[in-house]
Amino acid sequence: MANITKKVSWSSRGDESGGGERTPLLNGSEEVRYTRQLSGDGGMFHIGRLSTVDLEEDMTSDEDAGCPKEIPHNEKLLSLKYESLDYDNSENQLFLEEERRMSFLGFKCLEISRWVICGLIGFLTGLIACCIDIAVENLAGVKYFVVKQNIEKFTEVGGLSISLILWAVLNAAFVMVGAVIVAFFEPGAAGSGIPQIKCYLNGVKIPRVVRLKTLVVKVCGVICSVAGGLAVGKEGPMIHSGAVVAAGVSQGRSTSLKKDFKIFEYFRRDTEKRDFVSAGAAAGVSAAFGAPVGGVLFSLEEGASFWNQMLTWRIFFASMISTFTLNFFLSIYNKKPGDLSSPGLINFGRFESDSVAYNLYEIPLFIVMGAAGGLLGALFNILNYWLTIFRIRYVHRPCLQVMEAMLVAAVTATVSFAMIYFSNDCQPLGPDQSEDYPLQLFCADGEYNSMATAFFNTPERSVRSLFHNPPGSYNPLTLSLFTLTYFFLACWTYGLTVSAGVFIPSLLIGAAWGRLFGILLASITPDGSIWADPGKYALIGAAAQLGGIVRMTLSLTVIMVEATGNVTYGLPIMLVLLTAKIVGDYFVEGLYDIHIKLQSVPFLHLEAPATSHWLTAREVMSAPVTCFNRIEKVGTIVDVLSNTSTNHNGFPVVVPVAASDDMGKVCGLILRSQLIVLLKHKVFVELARSRLTQRKLQLKDFRDAYPRFPPIQSIHVSQDERECMMDLTEFMNPTPYTVPQETSLPRVFKLFRALGLRHLVVVDGENRVVGLVTRKDLARYHLGKHGLEEMQLAQT
């Protein structure tokens, strides 16, 4: 019991937040608290106050500590299914040999092919964005046209409830298609995909996240969910799509389609692949927002630990190509070939003229809006957090997930319809017809229902009309009702089993209350109409809300600036995002971080948790370590690899010292994947002796098996072969990174972050293996409300 619910509470900050009844840290009663926690029976009251998780653990873990415990899903778990990427290059003899053989020209060719790949990534990402855009526009167009016809017909003869049902059923049907393909075929395509890509760039291998199947499901899913009228956007999925494209193109083959183009073979390893994935993510951002620089900065912000200047330049190239491609094909689609002025999926339109200039005295107002955005964003995140926990615990069967998505779609339509039906806000039709589907309903002839411009439209268009419609197009009541409903709808929608992003809904909520703020400002100031342009405040509100929800900083500023095409707004947007982040972080993390946590991903943050210097490698590491000898019996290797309870991926290779000590001196490190390839090719010492002509194993053989190494069960090893020996010298990494036992946690953490390590061997003074530190050992420490806490490993 004590071992499992171990909760390290090392607090120096929690004192202020802990309230009056919490005991100060360094006094006598501290001991009592720990013993209570250890005993675990009388301390219910106290522990319950530590965190809710504690409480549940204590309630469920009544039985003996011996058998495996089952607890409800919560955020303080690390899942075993996530593995680390091998960013660190294994400099074994094969590698050295290959490098020797490669000519100067060969290296030049590699460099050129990197550029070619980046160009291809940009091109394909742009093309996908273009397809999504056109498909969504047409599908949504058909849907709104049908519903509009229906509403017009029934406004006259009566029976509008039938229109309502028609709208709801259409929505639900679209969303059902989207949800079915996600829930039953590829659950990895759910959500915006940004958390997954963030994890991937952080160095976590999320299963099936960069597969072709995921891409197909993602693209179809997002088309369905946007056309289905959910409160979602298609921008987040673009980032995921770009990443998948990058991972696919850079490998020169598709394992799903069983097609190998025999090109780019050199890039078939995690190090190279991940560089390309960051380029793909950047290209995705760039296609989504028409923000190439923002895309590069997004990759920088999310995957910043491994970075160099040439890579930045290549990524920028991919981003530019992507936005250019999208632009070009959209211009053809819009029958204006060559007109390159619609750079992104969401186009905020131009903010020009004097009314949108801002003045010094407006800066405080912007900061206030930023704070409001932070508060609302935090509320959004908290609500979504509880909802997601509920979903993980109770709505986990695919058919339930599909039903939930359909219900959300139907309710979205219902709420929208009710809002439009009961709205009294009528506005005259403008001469330039900025509304695509104006609904008249009960308005006077020649006027349209103003609520319908916000609800009866794809979210992107609603954002644009909130930004650009002239002052007076919305009345305050409409806007406040819209903000309120859309806030809850968006919060409810995010986390459904459909592929959809949260960018546009956040922007829409923000734009609505920002515009409201602008209108109120104009009405309370005597000469307000001159400077309080509602469109400007809508933009600031959108930035604040988005910043409050996702908490991105630099990249989001640049994305917003690029999407509006107005550098003058750089300062206000930065201030707003800054404030929103500060205020929001006070309450809860960003939405993506919450979802990463809820997925139990071993995510390494920028730095080790503060106040963790006292933890040393000895306490952090896993021990005892399964090691192999330089020349190991095949049977031993097979047994270790087949052991399901220990799913180790890296094994230190040791030279045994004295016979008494079982821990030998470390002389290398070998990975599970390498061992499997060796077993598959039967690289045994005895066989090599008997068959001298046998082809020598090359690095290419390892690459061919990448990235889906066969499981150990599929490799047949006969009884005779089990007795053979295997020489690992040639294949192991002869110089693994090692640290002494006394290294502090932050030091180990820095090594992991900076070098992208997967395994770090902990050795004693005589270079004998003591333990092994992996990503999960580091990621389990995090700074909770009451000091340093430790997460548990769980099977998910």
Partner: protein, 310 residues
């Protein structure tokens, strides 16, 4: 008399050239109401006397004029002065027409003739054909100074013309209204007559009786809207009719189905509650199996903490 004053003021304002012609009509009425009659007269007289359009020959003798005449070869030729005078007359005629047709808007149907005249004289001025005495008035009248007043004046009115999209209602050559327009006017009159007929009694009778003609008008209008054969006259008259129909006679559709809509909505809203409740109650909660990590057992973290704390 009063009309003359307003017109003179108009010309004055145009002469100063800073106000857009578009706003002049409005400005003059506002100004007219604000200024006293005397002041108005003075201002108009002063400006009018300065204006070469009105007194082309006497201008140089007038005491207010500070400049004496230029030598012969730089002066504007008589032919051009004549053209300019005609331009001025037609200009004021057209502006007068515009002002009188401002509300309800009839600028296309009433003023296309005068606009035609104005355009003709301007074309004369701006053509590079030589007039009698081998002079071209284009350079001397249109381009000899920074202000380029004649050009500016004409351009302002042209902007009004294009802004009101009169071209779509007036047939080519500006001799008559197009057939579409005439047909629309006829349909509109039909509706208006119908309105007039039933106006006295109950409005609901009107709504019923005039519905067909009104709907025909509406459909015609939307057809024309699609073909882009609308000008401001038609748009305005349609707007007025629609307002009459919806606001004055209250013939828009009533919001009559509150109960079914509310019922269906609340049923829909009720569904997710049932869904979540049932999945909470019936779906088994997903549990996670905890894994005991392999740790060096000698010194667990907790012991360490306590060591270090004390």
């Amino acid at each position: 008399m009063y009309i003359f004053q307003v017109a003179a003021l108009l010309i004055a304002l145009l002469y100063y050239g800073n106000a857009q012609t578009f706003t002049v009509a409005v400005n003059s009425t506002i100004l007219g109401s604000e200024l006293s009659a005397d002041g108005l007269k003075q201002l108009a007289a002063a400006v009018a006397s300065q204006s070469p359009v009105f007194q082309p020959s006497r201008g140089s003798y007038f005491s207010l004029n500070l400049l004496s005449a230029f030598p012969e070869d730089l002066e504007v030729s008589d032919y051009c002065v004549e053209l300019l005078a005609i331009f001025g007359q037609r200009y004021s005629t057209y502006v007068n027409c515009l002002v009188s047709a401002a509300r309800p808007v009839k600028v296309c149907q009433n003023c296309y003739g005068t606009y035609d005249n104005l355009m003709e004289i301007y074309t004369n001025i701006s053509s590079d054909q030589m007039g009698p005495g081998n002079v071209s008035c284009r350079d001397s009248l249109l381009r000899s100074d920074r202000l380029m007043l004649v050009f500016l004046l004409y351009n302002n009115l042209k902007d009004i013309w294009t802004g009101s999209e009169c071209n779509s209602c007036v047939s080519l050559g500006l001799h008559s209204l197009t057939n579409d327009t005439l047909y629309f006017m006829a349909t509109l009159n039909q509706s208006l007559r119908c309105f007039e007929k039933f106006q006295q009694g109950n409005h609901s009778a009107l709504c019923k009786e005039c519905k067909t003609t009104y709907r025909g008008l509406n459909e015609l209008y939307s057809r024309m809207e699609k073909n882009r054969t609308l000008c401001i006259d038609i748009e305005d008259s349609m707007n007025m009719t629609r307002r009459l129909w919806s606001k004055n006679f209250n013939c828009s559709f009533p919001r009559a189905e509150n109960v079914p809509v509310i019922a269906v909505s609340s049923f829909m809203l009720f569904l997710p509650i049932i869904f979540y409740l049932s999945s909470f109650l019936h779906s088994e909660q997903k549990k996670r199996k905890l894994i005991q990590p392999k740790r060096a057992k000698s010194n667990t973290s907790l012991v360490n903490i306590q060591d270090r704390l004390s």
